[in-house]
């Protein structure tokens, strides 16, 4: 346990590193860092995990009081420039059951319950066969950056 991290961030890190969906594909921690606040958003925490076939998964945790925090999950490949935003991927495949899936406020009663429930849900979604093929480096999909119609 890293003494410089607060309990919630440490828990986020622990849950990430215990995701079966990633462990089974050989993902290991490469980097964990605090991303300082920008002019537009407050600070975030980023965990990068890599495996031996050139795949990289980045889980971003952005703590926020009002929604208790949000997550963004990216899948990168050494062979492609643009990452896959996992939420956009789920949406494209019609598998995003809940728009608020990546909001912590959508889960549980206590902080630990929420984190546990979120990562359990994330794990199940990452275990999707098509996504597993991507994580094993056997397949890739182009998911255009979602400008949400603003651009």
């Amino acid at each position: 346990m890293n003494p410089s991290l607060n309990i919630e961030v440490q828990s986020f890190l622990d849950h990430c590193l215990a995701l079966d969906s990633l462990m089974c594909n050989g993902f290991q921690q490469k980097n964990f860092e605090r991303i300082p606040a920008t002019k537009a958003i407050s600070e975030s925490y980023k965990l990068e995990m890599v495996n031996l076939v050139g795949m990289r998964v980045e889980v971003l945790f952005h703590p926020l009081p009002n929604v208790l925090g949000v997550f963004v999950v990216y899948v990168y490949s050494d062979k492609h420039n643009e990452p896959i935003n996992f939420k956009d991927w789920l949406k494209k495949h019609g598998k995003l059951a809940d728009q608020n899936m990546f909001k912590l406020s959508n889960y549980g009663d206590s902080s630990e319950d929420r984190l546990g429930a979120f990562f359990e849900h994330l794990n199940l979604n990452l275990l999707d066969d098509a996504m597993q093929a991507i994580l094993r480096g056997e397949n890739w999909e182009e998911i255009p950056f979602d400008w949400t119609g603003i651009k």
Partner: protein
């Protein structure tokens, strides 16, 4: 950690509910004070000082000359144009601001005499709002008083956040210009012969807060310079209202001024596009032929390229033999991606603000904003984007393609989508205006 968050969240609900009640009460009082000052512009005098439209005698002459606007610095047109083109005017504290504020007094009678009117304005009801709407404005102004500042918002539950958004979005509509007549169709400013959506209407639609068509909003097509001016003055009215707020309202002032910055870009664009259309040179000027090749690119042939009805609306000729493409939409029919694919197929080398041009930091920031502030479609309020890494990268990209001599094709807005701060900035950076 978890239980303390839950407890704190519960506490926020109670605390916030109490504050809403108290601040609504306080702000109703403050609203009476702040808005009891009539906001009137001497439209007759303003119009009297503007040059009359002069129409082209041939294709190679101008409808207007730039000097018509700039060579008479004492005219009332000057301050209005300056205010439109300089967002800092809205926040500057100087004699000029006082001058603008003084002159921003919309005369209801004058406006009506031009066949265009704001809702009735009286001392008791200065903005022409009914009691319900005044209450909404009060809630909005309550936000300006500090209720909806960043730290307070951070404490809001999702439901309260939604309410705050709703409250803070609504009253802008109420101070927009309205006509005494209803007309079907899209509001157009046609006083100078240039057909375009009225800035006020375009702005309201683009914010996503309010669609004049869907909401049966009263407006009419501006058929004259005077009507067009009243229409465009709508933004000034909003600005004047904000200026009247007390200093303690700074946070949301800034927020709304960011919205105003967008609005002014739109207004400025409308004004600039009018001038550009008026100053349009004939193809013979400079001895250049429209089909001449430049930088290895046949501009004439490029103009002919059409993909499902989408074609170049304007082209800035470059020198490096490559093409950068901008447009209102990225993906789908009428988007720059489809257009670029077709150009690539025809052998052109194209360049877009996409892929590697968008940094990882920019993606993260965007996706977090989308998650936190996005609506059900992920749409982020555009004023929140102006401080983002991505916005700065987009602006830098636009400057880069100019500096590096790309031929730049603007395919416009074939889908008639709402205002985009990204597209507007690209146009402003590349072409010097935000012409539609």
């Amino acid at each position: 950690m978890g239980s303390s968050l839950a407890e704190a969240n519960s506490g926020w609900k109670d605390d916030a509910a109490k504050r809403v009640t108290q601040i609504e009460r306080d702000m109703l009082t403050r609203l009476d004070s702040d808005l009891s000052k009539p906001i009137l512009v001497d439209i007759d005098k303003l119009l009297g000082d503007l040059p009359a439209p002069r129409f082209a005698e041939s294709e190679s002459t101008y409808k207007f000359k730039a000097s018509d606007f700039s060579a008479t610095p004492e005219t009332k047109a000057r301050w209005m144009r300056e205010m439109m083109s300089d967002p800092s005017v809205g926040v500057a504290s100087n004699a000029y601001k006082k001058e603008v504020a003084e002159k921003l007094r919309i005369s209801q009678a004058a406006a009506q005499s031009n066949g265009y009117a704001y809702a009735p304005s009286t001392i008791d009801n200065p903005m022409g709002l009914n009691n319900k709407d005044r209450l909404e404005v009060a809630k909005y102004l309550a936000g300006m008083g500090g209720m909806f500042n960043d730290s307070a918002l951070a404490n809001f539950t999702p439901d309260m956040l939604e309410q705050a958004r709703f409250i803070s979005n609504k009253p802008i509509v109420q101070v927009a210009p309205v006509s005494t007549e209803k007309t079907q169709g899209v509001g157009l400013v046609a006083w100078d012969g240039v057909v375009r959506e009225a800035p006020a209407v375009a702005y309201l639609r683009s914010t996503g807060f309010f669609d004049p068509l869907k909401n049966n909003f009263d407006y009419q097509q501006a058929q004259s310079l005077s009507e067009g001016l009243v229409n465009e003055a709508g933004g000034a009215v909003i600005g004047a209202g904000i200026k009247l707020l007390r200093p303690g309202a700074q946070f949301l002032k800034n927020s709304v001024l960011s919205e105003q910055t967008l609005f002014r870009m739109e207004l400025n664009g409308a004004m600039q596009s009018g001038l550009n259309a008026d100053l349009r040179a004939s193809t013979a000027i400079g001895g250049l032929d429209a089909n001449a090749s430049k930088g290895g690119i046949n501009i004439g042939a490029l103009r002919e390229v059409e993909i499902n009805g989408t074609s170049a609306k304007r082209i800035l000729e470059g020198t490096n033999g490559e093409i950068a493409i901008i447009g209102r939409s990225m993906h789908g029919p009428g988007g720059v991606v489809d257009y670029a694919v077709e150009l690539n197929r025809r052998g052109y080398k194209t360049h877009l603000f996409a892929g590697d041009e968008i940094s990882a930091a920019s993606r993260r920031e965007w996706d977090v904003l989308k998650e936190v502030y996005g609506d059900s479609n992920g749409l982020i309020p555009q004023y929140r984007l102006m401080n983002t890494v991505g916005f700065q990268e987009n602006k830098a990209w636009a400057q880069k393609v100019v500096n590096q001599g790309y031929t730049i094709v603007d395919i416009g807005n074939p889908n008639n989508s709402g205002f985009s701060v990204y597209y507007a900035t690209e146009k402003k950076t590349i072409f010097g205006n935000v012409k539609k």
